[in-house]
């Protein structure tokens, strides 16, 4: 476990997962400030491209990052990279702000909160995220922009590219494995 006063180790500025755990377990404000400096300008771009005005995007960024601080206990590095977790918070906030509809959500999986995190899973989730970012960067500009536009809501349903050219299948199999293990554990108990 990270955090807690004297045990704290110097954290790499780009180790988002480590920083997020310092926020979660140590309520580390400096770590939070680093996360804010990294994510806030990117979230603002994403929100503005998704149709929010600059002031609205700015407010939304504050709400999203406040949620990151207050709901930090829900961050699980075995399940998702920090960027994925932050993204889902931003997406949900954007729907609430712009659409004023209810947002149907799948039933939450009862992830086993008591057990020690499996370091291999933590590593795999971070590695997935790194690979995916690298793969996205390597795509031809046209294809990358298509994927980005799908996230901004610029594509109609039928225009959404089905072939992303990204290693999504690999991630899916890993998550699927984790789900299988969890189901097996739940059946045992």
């Amino acid at each position: 476990m990270l955090g807690k006063g004297s045990q704290r180790v110097a954290l790499d500025e780009t180790d988002w997962s480590g920083l997020m755990l310092a926020v979660r377990d140590g309520r580390d404000r400096a770590a939070f400030a680093s996360l804010f400096r990294h994510f806030a300008p990117r979230l603002k771009s994403y929100l503005m491209k998704s149709g929010a005005s600059a002031p609205k995007a700015e407010d939304c960024v504050q709400d999203v990052m406040a949620t990151v601080w207050h709901k930090a206990a829900q961050f699980d590095p075995e399940r998702a990279a920090v960027s994925t977790w932050v993204y889902t918070i931003a997406r949900n906030r954007m729907i609430d702000m712009l659409r004023r509809e209810r947002r149907p959500e799948p039933e939450a999986m009862p992830w086993d909160e008591d057990s020690e995190p499996d370091q291999a899973d933590v590593y795999a989730a971070a590695e997935d995220s790194r690979l995916l970012s690298a793969a996205l960067a390597d795509l031809p500009e046209k294809q990358r922009s298509l994927i980005q536009r799908a996230f901004y809501g610029d594509l109609s349903h039928s225009e959404i590219a089905l072939e992303t050219g990204l290693p999504l299948g690999t991630i899916k199999s890993r998550i699927r494995l984790a789900l299988d293990r969890l189901r097996a554990k739940m059946t045992e108990s």
Partner: protein, 217 residues
């Protein structure tokens, strides 16, 4: 909700991407969330699309936030938030995303007769698409219909067959304009489905067409 290993008809990538990106209508979103609740495979696929959303954020240009944004943020952390402790969802026979819209379990559904023993209950959502629960008695058919837009039909209980295949619990049929179909509930058990449409259905018969505005189908 236990996952159903026998599911054969799944969400397609466009729906998963649309949900992950937050751009599906509320009605379609409810069908996706319900299928994902019943299907581990599609939950895993959805989470990988959400990871793609994370990668899109990482790849974003940086738009400068106002100079006092960080200071305001840090000040805001001081203000304690009172958050309602999340209620553990009551165990219902309906998947929890559906029971949230019904406001309870199956016995809380306000059914309306649709003819031929078929009953429906339209769930309250935003206006861009409509979602309903359908109760089809064992062995009965839903009137023959086509669609102008897209129709998603998710089986919650029982099973139905149409010209394309058999659909059991957790199976999702994705029908577009080209499919005119007549779902028939299997003999033995009533079939309960969650069905969403983004345009009114087209019924083949004359009488159902007359009744259509009345029933909002």
């Amino acid at each position: 909700m236990t996952t159903l290993p026998t599911i054969r008809h799944h969400l397609n990538d466009a729906l998963l991407m649309g949900y992950a990106a937050g751009h599906l209508s509320e009605a379609f979103g409810l069908v996706v969330a319900t299928h994902v609740t019943m299907c581990d495979d599609c939950r895993a696929r959805l989470e990988s699309y959400e990871a793609l959303g994370g990668a899109v954020i990482e790849a974003e240009d940086e738009t400068a936030v106002s100079t006092d944004a960080l200071a305001r943020m840090m000040a805001r952390l001081e203000v304690p938030v009172v958050s309602a402790s999340p209620k553990a969802p009551r165990k219902t026979s309906l998947p929890s995303p559906v029971s949230a819209y019904v406001g309870g379990d199956l016995d809380a559904v306000k059914w309306r007769a649709l003819g031929g023993g078929v009953r429906q209950a339209i769930l309250p959502t935003g206006p861009k698409a409509t979602v309903r629960l359908l109760h089809i008695p064992a062995g009965q058919a839903v009137p023959d219909h086509g669609h102008r837009g897209m129709e998603l039909t998710l089986v919650l209980r029982g099973a139905f067959r149409d010209a394309t295949d058999r659909f059991g619990p957790g199976d999702l049929e994705i029908a577009d304009e080209d499919l005119a179909h007549k779902p028939v509930a299997e003999v033995g058990e009533d079939c309960i489905c969650l069905a969403a449409t983004d345009a009114p259905l087209r019924f083949a018969g004359f009488m159902p067409r007359l009744l259509q505005p009345l029933f909002r189908i």
